[in-house]
Symmetry: C2
Subunit: 715 residues, 2 copies
Amino acid sequence: MKPKIDYNSDGGLCSSSTSVSGEDTPNRDERCQSPTDFDYTSGNKSLAEKIRLRIESGEKFFSLEFFPPRTKEGAVNLLARFERLRLACPLFCDVTWHPAGNPGGDTETSSMTIASAALNYCGLETMLHLTCCNLSREDVIKHLNRAREMGIRSILALRGDPPIGQDWHPPENGLKYAVDLVRLIRNLFGDDFSICVAGYPTGHPDATSYEADLLHLKEKVDAGADFIITQLFFRAETFIKFVRDCRALGINVPIIPGVMPIQSYDSLRQIAKLSKLEVPEEIINIVAPLKDNDEAIRNYGVQQAVSLIRELFNAGLAPGVHFYTLNREVATTTILKQLGLWVTEPRRPLPWRRAANAKRSTETVRPIFWSSRPKAYIYRTRHWDEFPNGRWGKSDSPAFGELKDYYLFYLKSKSSKNDLLRMWGEELCSEQDVWDVFHCYLSGQPNKCGVKITKIAWNDEELSSETSLLQEKLSEFNKKGVLTINSQPNVNGAPSDDPVVGWGPRGGYVYQKAYLEFFTCQANVQALLKVLPSFPRVNFHIINSNGSADYTNCHRHRPVAVTWGVFPGREVLQPTVVDPVSFKVWKDEAFALWREQWGKLYPEGSTSRDLLTRISETYYLVNLVDNDFPRESCLWDLLNAMFAQRELDNMSDFIQQDSDVHLDAVDHYENGLRLTRRQDSQGDGSYTHYTMEELVEAAHRQEMHDEIVTGEGHQ
Amino acid sequence: MKPKIDYNSDGGLCSSSTSVSGEDTPNRDERCQSPTDFDYTSGNKSLAEKIRLRIESGEKFFSLEFFPPRTKEGAVNLLARFERLRLACPLFCDVTWHPAGNPGGDTETSSMTIASAALNYCGLETMLHLTCCNLSREDVIKHLNRAREMGIRSILALRGDPPIGQDWHPPENGLKYAVDLVRLIRNLFGDDFSICVAGYPTGHPDATSYEADLLHLKEKVDAGADFIITQLFFRAETFIKFVRDCRALGINVPIIPGVMPIQSYDSLRQIAKLSKLEVPEEIINIVAPLKDNDEAIRNYGVQQAVSLIRELFNAGLAPGVHFYTLNREVATTTILKQLGLWVTEPRRPLPWRRAANAKRSTETVRPIFWSSRPKAYIYRTRHWDEFPNGRWGKSDSPAFGELKDYYLFYLKSKSSKNDLLRMWGEELCSEQDVWDVFHCYLSGQPNKCGVKITKIAWNDEELSSETSLLQEKLSEFNKKGVLTINSQPNVNGAPSDDPVVGWGPRGGYVYQKAYLEFFTCQANVQALLKVLPSFPRVNFHIINSNGSADYTNCHRHRPVAVTWGVFPGREVLQPTVVDPVSFKVWKDEAFALWREQWGKLYPEGSTSRDLLTRISETYYLVNLVDNDFPRESCLWDLLNAMFAQRELDNMSDFIQQDSDVHLDAVDHYENGLRLTRRQDSQGDGSYTHYTMEELVEAAHRQEMHDEIVTGEGHQ
């Protein structure tokens, strides 16, 4: 017998029969894919259910249609576009099936890959199109299985275009119509997929009549379709009539109008031709005279779409709107903003972005290490079937997947090799050159060629607003060879709606422990190890590339929460941890980026490449947590102490030569540093204290002494 | 494939080969059963392992032996003794096997029941004795299975005393010697049990010689015994020689000296006779002249035991000491205190006491409702095989066991019926009489018969020091019929070593949301429901006995953390939650206590009993959480508003009679209360605000008016 505590299942609504609504949070939380969707355990609703809830709430939604790009670069760009458009919280996006390519294959440009990347790596609820008329039944099933494996749970079921020619017949045992595909999905996959079908407000071009086409649509819905997206149309009344006719026929599922912002004269003509649609005269009359002025047409297209959608919304028959984006971004963004559908609210449910894959819907904890490389983390944990929820727990050996291929396209830098070289230096001659790259990235200063550095190998994005809080200190230490790749300031109970550090539901308080992660050279690490015992508040992990040196004062299997929040009516959330076991996995990835993302920009055998390889082999990766979050972070003091200790290490030889005094350690105090030297001559363990200045002076005297006595200066 | 994150298994030590010890916390955490044993996930170590770790740490331990009491009252008293002695953190206690009774049975006085209660309800690591010479092999196995079911994981394997007479033979197929029992346990139960055996420093009385007995001991250890406890002895050199002889023979397991504090002349003589031990002359010489002065003998016994144990410890051969307590408490306590083994450190690993049953070793979260009735909670969840850890999670229906028998002896009040009647009143005539009981309990004032009330039906203990922080406010409201049974103040980041609210490892910060739970009458609840919307910070649950009225503004399945802590090097701990589903289970228990624990003290049909039954049927159980923990709790304001609203409800009739003004609600502001009346005559939704004073004055005017006009005063 076990307690029936379900850590994973769907959240339920308040039983309204007996509850008084003292606050409306619980209900608001049930909304999906909206910026206030902070129900952390109910993210695995189907798309059909999400649409139903949005219709119930009366809040209009929008969705975005894309087609797979033709090139790998196009794929990288499209993913960047997904990330930007995601900020506006589309209810879903959909990716067309591209039968000419290898739509169900593994290439970077396949429909399947793009849809999976949108879902898994860009955090968009994603629907995949599937056309059946050229596929065998087996292939259809294979594609559906694969889509399900990827986490895709919505299919737009289409017939597709048969090859041109009168005598086309579907493959033996194949599917002739979309309705057959709908039936197959429902029969073989039950409710694993939400099924969408296409509606044709002016009738399908191949249908014998508008009425006959409506009956086909009814058939598709009766076979199990959950909702309808319409083919594009130009006049509101077309959609309004269509919906009324559908309803009259007993088609009761949601019908989402499909709208294409007119982007150019040529594309409009081409699409109208392909879709066998007649463009209304009033539009032709405006667009035709502008045909060589793309900007003017785009502006018109925006205005036309906005007024069309307004009319649809006002008619009360459209629960939302579907955009045929043609993979463009600007027009759709402008339209959304004009309609007030572009929600700019920057509230985050968690400090990191939640995944759209239902399998990860209960995930609430991640190691901090991947915070600038969330896609790598998602990739490496994609085969998990349970995700940490509430706590990370004891992780003896989290089964992280290998990350050998640093050129997985969704992990590829959005910048070209040339851009990266301009930022990071065509030639690197010294470690200082490398340090300066970090320094410029963090300070915002241009590099010596006047180029602004907007990314580093460990972070393909500009600095987060949170990092900016530490920018000055960070850039100062980076210039001196403390090469920071991750950090966060301490936060002691900021309101959860704080614009910089806030996250989670309103009315809560968020917290952070100060965190610093950096590469640095061995001499710094040796000094650091000497001063760390004077900072008992600090947890540390220090490791080199091959793991042969590995220092910590932490429990070997116990994570430390470094970000957490307390909210009304909830358990405590602690979304990021420093987990010692995961750190060793991350270490390999972090060291490899020196060679794979940066070093490989330079020819084999070049000074630059050798330098970066040497750094990756000799530097250490350090992480530091200051546990005493209510007090000012002591991590800067710790770094200062490290540098003071190095000075001391450099000096102690000289001083030792003409006295029996041995410099020993740097003690740390609340306010400043104290240097200690042991007076061995007294032999009673007593200490004499010197200020840093005294010691530096002593070292200089010693140098002069050496010069006089031996005739040799210390270079 | 799933992530290998083990939420339950044993913690590992830092790999010392590569770690530098910047803080010693991880190692200290590995210590067991000591007040700083705050390794929340490693509590399922075997007793053998705990002993090994304590020997490694060099920290002396002690253990306590008890025998089963003869009566039910004796059992209740013994459990109370366990609870007091537990505060000193014994490494374990052990309960003798009482073959004359029904030692493996279900009665309250059986060895099995007492051992299980010590383990499960008093939180003591517990070893059960088992003697085999009068049991069939099947019975031995049955008892071992039952012990394992109870969570007992240590057995002291003994032969036991055969019946007097020369011709005794063990039952057919039975076990003749302790070594046979050791073998049986190891063969059939593997490592499920730690096995202890008895050692006889002067040789077993039945053995042919001291040397022969040592060889038997060697046999027992070779058969799988983990450690040895010695028979009592009087001189340190006896033990020292014994240990050296054992080691010489290759007996290498820990040997714990058994010490019996001399408590009286008669018991000393009797025990010496039973154990066939010779009491040394130097002891006889002291004790014999004192034989009629028990106190003097006890004092001598303490002194003799202290110096004996000191000698043993100084000799470096005793890792700890085992006390034959004879179920007495004072002598052992005094000895422990004199030896410095009574650790008075009040640090708590969690706000509630952790269970000793290994099955519960990962448990870190409980609902707050049972905080004064932890034994009932343990009882009702005893069949769970997973316990909430880190978070409570979503609990659709936690499978709580029924709690029908309110007279389970370990849930029985330690006070007699007469004592309870003296405290709670021989006769209760009115609700105010009942309220006064709560008021006296909370204020510490004696009741009208001059008796101090030290417990109520919902809490068998005196007030916690934390409740004392709220004492004044609580007693004030209890006097007015807000009958509080649970509460905690808000705490915003107190140091974890705070003497009142602190818990968990040092160097952390602890937090609480203000919590209040009380019974109150329907009129109060009606007023409360009117004012609650003005306190949006507050989560509430309000329910009546049969659940027909059930109000909340919470998610129906989502718990609220009300106690949590943040510590160096760890995840966030949140040991108590308000869980809506568990509240309904608790509700039944809380309402039943009116009748079962209190009402049944009075004869059936008596006024007192009827009154308590009526209260249990008509009152509501309310819990309130103030989510805004950094600000001063608003719960007192809320209660004041509730009473103001009641005044208002009482007055509104009069005021309504000669005006169209309708008193409507009480609004709450940061500083004080504002009363609102809607001016319906204007019909524009505007409000006029009155102070409380104005309204009371208006009511009085109205009363005077009524008096004048109708000639009737309102009584």
